[in-house]
Symmetry: C2
Subunit: 314 residues, 2 copies
Amino acid sequence: MNKLKAVANRLMTMDNVHILTHRYPDGDTLGSAYALCSALQQLGKKAKVITSGEPAKKYDFLKKGVKEQDFQREYVVSVDVAASSLLGENEEEYKDIIDICVDHHGTNSIEAKMKYIDASSASAAEIVFELLGLMTGVNLNKHIATCIYTGLSTDTGCFRYTNTTPKTHLIAAKTMAAGAPWEMINAEMFEIMSPARIELQKLVYNTLEITLKGKLALIVVTLDMLKKAGVGDDEVEGLANIPRRVEGVLMGITIREKEDGVFKISVRTNEGVDASSYCQTFGGGGHVAASGCTIEGTLESVKKALIDEAQRIL
Amino acid sequence: MNKLKAVANRLMTMDNVHILTHRYPDGDTLGSAYALCSALQQLGKKAKVITSGEPAKKYDFLKKGVKEQDFQREYVVSVDVAASSLLGENEEEYKDIIDICVDHHGTNSIEAKMKYIDASSASAAEIVFELLGLMTGVNLNKHIATCIYTGLSTDTGCFRYTNTTPKTHLIAAKTMAAGAPWEMINAEMFEIMSPARIELQKLVYNTLEITLKGKLALIVVTLDMLKKAGVGDDEVEGLANIPRRVEGVLMGITIREKEDGVFKISVRTNEGVDASSYCQTFGGGGHVAASGCTIEGTLESVKKALIDEAQRIL
């Protein structure tokens, strides 16, 4: 905590701060950035969030608590950005002038004058929460609480992912007590789907196939289905969890057509079945419970190869 | 808390205890009952959970931490049971001999020598957690933590429902720290679906209809679909939330065929649209955001009536 206190002290001396997010900004990088921006403005400083790419509309509520300010930039802080390349369109302008880097990725490779990395935090927002607590004069108001809750809930899949810790819950409790509209946040983050995305879900459910005596489930996402539903590449997330949800299934496979004859395979397993060694057979890899690979062929040949190999190990 | 301390003291004097759950036992009533049973056994007492109806297999892990004991019943405690009728098959035998009733339903009408009702608790498990903390010699071991986490997570939809409070999160943090296998619990409670249930989901997604310029979404569940998928009446839960998840939708309606010519309607609304007054038009009612009614007719006539009335108010 001493090192974090040093970051807090440093921030207290700064003014005219640009706060950077990673590209394809999500709830954690945005929540962390807007919480920090809000806190600096609370202290009478000028601060501004510089996102990499336009955030999705569902995050609009995070902006609402900060003032738009025009000023000459003096300092730069990055939050939840693990590597310069993830600054995207802002990489060239900012990569060599970052004063403070706050992140929860153990692999962080950002060059910055001062770095605070805590890989045990489920979200960057949890670190920012602790940081703001160390800055004299910062008050956990409703807007900051909203930003922090959004970050921690997004990055833990609403307290379900492996990275969740007791600390995540303790900070959730404090931000709820400070007025974070947590019901709205969770609905926006996890429930609401565009009509196109729900159409895709419908098409994908129709491809669900359960085989090998109920131990293997597969779904297919083709380019044609994406086109028919009218969804972009960024709206496909979350589908890969569907096959593993079937009771009794040990391995859930998502076959996603990337281009004609090329399929990206996501494998999710239950009860210790090794997805990584399975995917290695096809030149891929990953973690025990979640891995991937790319296979070329026709949908039918790819499916057959996957089922044959699954039959061998299940 | 003084009243709860009195309950704790009373429990400390008891032995040979039967602990009752409500019928169609869920994660909260079972988690609360097994946590209490485990605690009493820890104190060297004899205790046994008497469920009303066989719990679903997914709850089997809750039983594992308690010993099966044979004894002559001396005392009876009910947890999460709001009314005698909810004791189901155990009503006749037990309804007049309940010593302690612990519950979080404000409407509780159980007759008991001692009652502790806290309607501000999201789950009965939260009350049991506090109760065990007041019983000298009870140690929050892994099994008790597992039971408590299961109760609070089940009853709050994994921290998403309106009833969730900062206290829910604080207790979640403590039970996680005490070793509750929260990932497995949430997977079992919220992710895993039987093949039949997922088949029903597939059929239901195919009925999704978005109308009135995207403001109304409807799904249909027919008896024929239940039969085709092979699911029981108890596996239909959760479907009513699907239509409201569509972005832009103000009202989501689920039309469920109960018998030939009779349809049960569930209405869920967003952004303050009054589901209750809408359902009153059809002789039903409920809450602003969630209401229901029953309409007779053909599927087509029922759907038309619902859309016409929705068009009037949206």
